[in-house]
Assembly symmetry: C2
Homo-oligomer: 481 residues x 2
């Protein structure tokens, strides 16, 4: 068996490449740059992640749609900033068979221009509002930067919500609720802690009034963008003619918002955040297999295998996802190593002595602790240990994020921090006026201004780390993974 | 409220167009020919249909993958018959931004050429076999025939399985198991009875050795193709180099099979098969809402609404999908009409008198029968009536299919039957030799040879209805919807 060669904290990029192949998460040999084949060991957890996110959105009143993958060019050109932002990244379909199409069709890079063209047909009155929709979709961007599996691909998997409201207040309330969903699901279930930033003006979603992006941290101190939510105001409702007749019988433009959790990128953070030098560590809720049963000395005692099968059925019936590794061509030690690398939260070992004592051993992937459990207590113990494991992974991840934030007094500090953590410092302005200082930051430190916090009020002291003018804002600077 | 204008049996095509709009199943005004926006009332049942089909495939050992939507042109051209069959229908991507791509990329019309290029990298030994995979995907075909919502679109939603076996026997066994899945899920759960035909040689999937297609019937006697399963033999494994080393240490080509349940088209059959003049009738298992609660005289007795809410929570907790229509701007009769049109299986009415007697009324959408049920028995009664309803819809559908098959002695008979049912008759040959007679059939009757049955052995008597040579086969002829 091949020994793992990379230290996850020090060589996290190499470790990430290694684990994608070793755990069969995805195969990069498809032959088209930026496109990859996702294998069952990533598809199953990503399906579970979809399930949790969709359930949360449904509870909040979003209804599910399936929109076409192709968007007519004319829709695409209606919102000026949007088209400027996205056109360099659009894949175009121009032919069906060898027939030239009447109009070019865009492979959706995002679906505002598809959704809002229909909103204008459907919405008539204040009684139709709020109107909250979503779809699960794959989207396409012709990335010219270097692509990385899960993190930056030319096709990726996400959810996009699109929503219409009568007032700006209601729209903004929904933006805040999106952030709650991020916290509840991305942190609460997937165990990825994030900081939500209001992005600077120069880093907004193309066409948005404001963008709020959640950032997670990698083991080596870079950030990975998690879901972002956008206040679109009336920027799209005007060109797309999304209007309603209000209670006062006046016709008004709707306020629109959208929210885009990118499942394949969040999955990258699940891998990067929770993994260790042995391999993956899945939170219990989204593990493709939650438990692996390994029979010990089954070749000497046939009852062991029978018991293992019996346990498997019992555990499965209780609704857990369980695997029995009964193959006799590998020693238990090899099996342990393999399933630890695969990130299965709990391992159950059952051997001849356990049979007699009516107990089994449970091993926790996160702590490495092993304990004997009475067979009668097994289901309860599985549920408990699963929960403890998820809580423990969350705690570790949260501590890592917290410690990565370091105050910087000047640009030299920022340089030292960026690439290894998140620098927190004073800055002149996150409106367009600060764009020049932001460019200098990027050039000198390789980091980008992530924005200002909205969950805590932070008062700026001192000066902008670049221009030396009085600091208006406290910003966070980090390198993107 | 607008009265329904079409008779489902007589004007089933107009009825279908009407119900798609009336029940908000999909909106055809997206603005690109052959593409439509699926709305929640079709998305929710189609998601449930995916769930049932995927669970069946998982039980049979298929593992889920996500493949890229785009297929490189060179893959596409490896299997000669395949490319001939599909290239007129392929949408091509040639540009990213305004940059010409190095190679044209096909929007997948089906994914054999994507899957098998990876199989050749993954499969090494007989120990890797059988190898059974699937994906849930949207696929694209530049249809030049007229498009119809759900039935024939340029983008549609399906599952495709792709599988490799060591021997022809094992491959064929899997093809037979696919037919069992069709029976178990498409009939058993969705209530769509089908006949499985071995398609004639001239009507096989491009690149297949044999194609087995299941046909369902529409109310006006046309057929709609349901899942088909294909024996690909070594036709793809040779050009794609899908090989394995067998027990005898010899290198051999795999036998491949694929199976393609098209969810959006099966959904069309759910609508067409079960609907009636009032609108949709969903089987209980796939109904977006299974129960609607309608409070009666709630404006006179406030306790009614409270009770209705209490019932809703109780029913929801039991795991059913339930809607409470508590709006007071509509009379109960209007609500009845609306939810019957929407196809909700069970309606629960609760009024002031029911409160006193601790009972509610249950109305069955399929039979129109209404009965009083003690509140204590409600959950049990819902489960029972739901099951009875699904069984009843299945029985009705099966009787309709059975009665649509009519024996034909000559071409005049066939002409009379086709368009109103399925003609069963003697035919010279379903090998290439019969292709000419099949052309005449199509020209003279508008019907196509659906193939020969494989579930029952049928012995041909008499002569081919076209050429008069001794009949070798019993074939079925019908018009496609």
């Amino acid at each position: 068996m091949e020994q793992q060669k990379f230290d996850k904290e020090k060589d996290s990029s190499e470790w990430f490449t290694w684990i994608i192949q070793e755990a069969k998460l995805a195969d990069i040999r498809y032959g088209v740059k930026g496109f990859l084949v996702f294998q069952p060991w990533s598809v199953e957890p990503m399906e579970l992640m979809y399930k949790y996110l969709e359930a949360d959105l449904e509870r909040r009143g979003h209804k599910k749609y399936w929109y076409p993958t192709l968007i007519p060019e004319k829709n695409f050109y209606l919102e000026k900033e949007h088209v400027e932002g996205f056109s360099p990244e659009v894949f175009w379909v121009e032919k069906g068979g060898e027939t030239k199409l009447e109009e070019r069709l865009a492979l959706r890079p995002t679906s505002e221009t598809a959704f809002y063209s229909m909103f204008s047909l459907w919405l008539r009155s204040y009684k139709d509002l709020p109107f909250k929709t979503y779809q699960r979709a794959n989207v396409f961007r012709y990335e010219t930067k270097s692509t990385r599996p899960f993190l930056r691909s030319r096709e990726f998997y996400w959810i996009e919500t699109h929503n219409a409201f009568a007032t700006e207040e209601e729209a903004f309330k929904n933006v805040l609720e999106d952030m709650e969903t991020t916290k509840r699901v991305v942190f609460g279930v997937f165990g990825i802690p994030t900081i939500v930033f209001k992005r600077p003006d120069w880093d907004k979603f193309a066409g948005a009034v404001n963008t709020f992006g959640a950032d997670a941290i990698t083991p080596d101190g870079k950030v990975v963008q998690q879901p972002s939510t956008h206040m679109l105001g009336q920027n799209f409702s005007k060109p797309f003619n999304v209007k309603f007749v209000d209670r006062d019988e006046k016709e008004k433009y709707c306020y629109l918002t959208c929210y885009g959790p990118c499942i394949s990128r969040i999955f990258a953070s699940v891998v990067l955040t929770h993994g260790d030098n042995k391999g993956l560590r899945f939170p219990f809720e989204i593990a493709p297999k939650q438990i692996v049963i390994i029979p010990i000395m089954a070749e000497k005692e046939p009852k062991v295998l029978k018991k293992a099968q019996e346990l498997k059925e019992k555990i499965e019936e209780a609704g857990f996802r369980v695997e029995l590794d009964a193959g006799d061509n590998k020693r238990p030690g090899e099996k342990f190593y393999f399933w630890e690398m695969k990130g299965v939260p709990l391992r159950i070992e059952v051997g001849p002595r356990d049979l007699k004592e009516k107990k089994v051993m449970i091993y926790r992937r996160d702590t490495g602790e092993k304990k004997a459990v009475a067979e009668k207590q097994l289901l309860k113990e599985i549920a408990n240990e699963g929960r403890f494991l998820s809580e423990n992974l969350k705690k570790i991840a949260k501590a890592q994020l917290d410690k990565s934030i370091v105050d910087a007094k000047n640009i030299e500090d920022v340089k030292k921090i960026v690439g290894r953590g998140i620098a927190r410092c004073g800055f002149c302005s996150v409106e367009s006026g600060g764009a020049k200082c932001a460019e200098i930051v990027e050039k000198e430190t390789g980091g980008r201004i992530r924005g200002t916090r909205i969950d805590v009020k932070e008062k700026a002291n001192g000066k902008c780390v670049i221009c030396g003018k009085p600091a208006q804002e406290v910003v966070y600077i980090a390198k993107e993974y």
